[in-house]
Amino acid sequence: MTEQSQSSSAETPSVLDELPGDLMMWVLIISELLVFGAGLGAFLGVRITDPEGFSAAQDHLFRAGAGLNTFVLVTSGFLAALASRAAHLGKVWRTRAMLLAAAMLGVVFLIIKGVEYAGKYAQGIGVETHPFFTFYYLLTGFHAAHVVFGILILGIVGYRCAPRTVEVGVAFWHMVDLVWVLLFPVIYLLR
């Protein structure tokens, strides 16, 4: 499909062809951003109905852990960007090393997240405890699932290490990064 579409796009160049990576990844990224955006919008909407309850519930969160996790994930994103650059320079092993480092930081993120969830569980806080926690578990849980999926993707693009493939995988990883950077202040910090 790719060769043919390039030849046909020669006659009518499309803005879509200028996208880095693959069009389908951008469809996925936009869909994900819509879902998380809608989730955060709903969170803020419900928060208006019960600001005190939401603030009280928020005080149970492990803010330092989440702050540390932000640092971990942004660093991981930086390493993934370096991997993409190395791939374009044709340095296969450097690309793989960077992807591995990025993925390992993803694992660190999940471990810290696990500690956080375990703490909630120990306090007896579940999905149905309060609307705040329904959103907390849905949004951070859904995000954590994307981290797991993203680690798998980084593994796959590291295995099939072509510049374009790496670019597609790293684009997904940056989306996971971006979503966390949006979730963190709204869920953990917003008063």
Binding site: V27, S31, V35, A42, T134
Partner: protein
């Protein structure tokens, strides 16, 4: 016709049209029961007519999909269908199963029998032997079409079509699982009902629409494929977790309200994309295909599907709204326009496209066919608007004011009377459509000199 085995589609489309006539007739009877509640209560109770109306709809749509597959797969794979005999055997099983279901429902035969009696689950009430027959027929179909595609050319259209058809067949297996717990029953039940029409059927729709656009507009295959992949991705992304919008009030945990609301809101995206796709393809098209009726149905399908499934679906998909509107006439309004727009029109589009070729009469009787489009579509849109008003009023009287169900129904009478009128228009439109594709051999209006010159210059005659 390029391949002899495409002729199989003619048999499928003919049976589908017969069931279509039956389906809308049952609809009309039910429409009158809404007006006069005692109509036929003893011989044909409302719940039985409803089963016949919905079941025959699903079966004829499926037969249309099978027919469409048998018509387009040879052209896409560039070879004859693996086995013509199996294809007719599959149809025979479907016909016997459909007749068996109609007789069992109508006369309430074998009540309570494990194998022969109806099962009593809404929409999945078919007797077990019919369900088993459906599975056997589906296996024959999948084997037949997959063998054809595997040995022939593989295109995005056939890949997506097969993905949809395999998916819908596998999901049907949940029809056999009937847990005693009603909440669990409903949870699995939606695996069939929702994951069909808001998942796998959308793939079938995208594939058939893609095929029609390819043929009718002559746009490059790569362009069509790119659109198809985006549409399919959007459909699966939103549709699978969108199942959550059925889990609001059946006893599932509360977080489904947010999962369902967020994902099902996005279900409008693939339908919007399909509408955009159809119009952009026509806009960019290089071919002025003379089969204008097929083009009209294709564009009508994409547009009415966007409104019926997309807009009318979104209307009551958020759980805060659905809390009030659940199970009112709003649902009926959405159900009618969504099924008509997305799947009825899709079938009528491919039938309008294929029939002239199958019957060896080059584009014929466009005028009657197009008249049937406008009659049926305006009837259906009028019905949708009527039911939406009825639903809004019902929601207020019943759910806000707390009046009793039957008291409210009495106050909705005027809407039901108007709905019956629109139902008559739909039935007349359906009869006109069936007549126009099955009977006449001549054009109703002969082409004028300009149109005739264009047809002579550009049109490739049906073989």
């Amino acid at each position: 016709m390029k391949y002899q085995s495409q002729k199989i589609a003619l048999a499928y489309f003919s049976v589908a049209m017969a069931l279509f006539a039956l389906q809308v007739s049952f609809g009309l009877i039910m429409g009158w029961i809404y007006v006069d509640g005692n109509f036929l209560t003893d011989i044909l109770p409302f719940n039985i007519v409803r089963m016949l109306h919905t079941n025959s709809l699903i079966v004829w749509l499926l037969l249309g999909f099978f027919g469409a597959a048998y018509y387009l797969v040879p052209e896409e794979a560039e070879r004859e269908i693996h086995s013509t005999k199996l294809a007719y055997l599959q149809l025979a099983i479907f016909v016997i199963g459909a007749l068996g279901a109609v007789l069992t429902y109508s006369f309430n035969l074998f009540e309570g029998n494990f194998l022969l009696g109806k099962e009593g689950r809404e929409f999945l009430e078919q007797p077990r032997w019919v369900k088993a027959g459906i599975v056997v027929a589906a296996l024959i179909f999948l084997y037949n079409v997959s063998m054809t595609v595997l040995k022939g050319r593989k295109t995005a259209i056939t890949n997506i079509l097969l993905l949809g058809l395999w998916g819908l067949s596998l999901l049907f297996l949940f029809a056999f699982y009937n847990p005693g717990n009603l909440a669990l029953d409903k949870q699995y039940w939606w695996y069939v009902v929702h994951l069909w029409v808001e998942g796998t059927w959308e793939l079938v729709m995208a594939a058939i629409l893609g095929y029609l656009m390819l043929k009718l507009t002559g746009v490059d295959r790569e362009v069509v494929e790119k659109w198809l992949y985006v549409i399919v991705a959007a459909a699966l992304f939103s549709g699978i977790l969108g199942t959550g919008h059925h889990y609001y009030w059946i006893g599932t945990p509360g977080y489904w309200q947010w999962i369902g609301s967020v994902f099902s809101s996005l279900e409008v995206v693939p339908f919007f994309a399909m509408m955009a796709f159809a119009f952009v393809m026509v806009w960019k098209g290089r071919r002025d295909h003379p089969n204008k009726a097929a083009l009209l149905w294709s564009l009508g399908c994409a547009t009415l599907a966007f409104f019926g499934a997309g807009v009318w679906g979104f209307l009551h998909t958020l759980h805060g709204v659905n809390y009030y509107t659940h199970g009112t006439q709003i649902t009926a309004a959405h159900g009618h326009l969504a099924f008509f727009g997305a799947y009825v029109s899709l079938n009528l589009a491919i039938i309008s496209y294929a029939m002239p070729v199958l019957k060896g009469r080059d584009p014929y009787n466009q005028v009657l066919n197009m008249a049937s489009f406008w009659l049926m579509s305006s009837g259906m849109v009028f019905m949708t608007v009527t039911l939406t008003f009825a639903g809004a009023l019902q929601t207020h009287l019943q759910r806000v004011n707390g009046e009793a169900f039957m008291e409210v129904q009495d106050q909705l009478w005027i809407f039901y009377a108007m709905r019956f009128g629109s139902g008559v228009a739909v039935v007349l439109g359906a009869i006109l459509f069936i007549y126009s594709v099955m009977v006449p051999r001549r054009e109703v209006i002969a082409a004028g000199p300009v149109e005739q010159a264009r047809i002579d210059a550009e049109h490739i005659a049906a073989e």
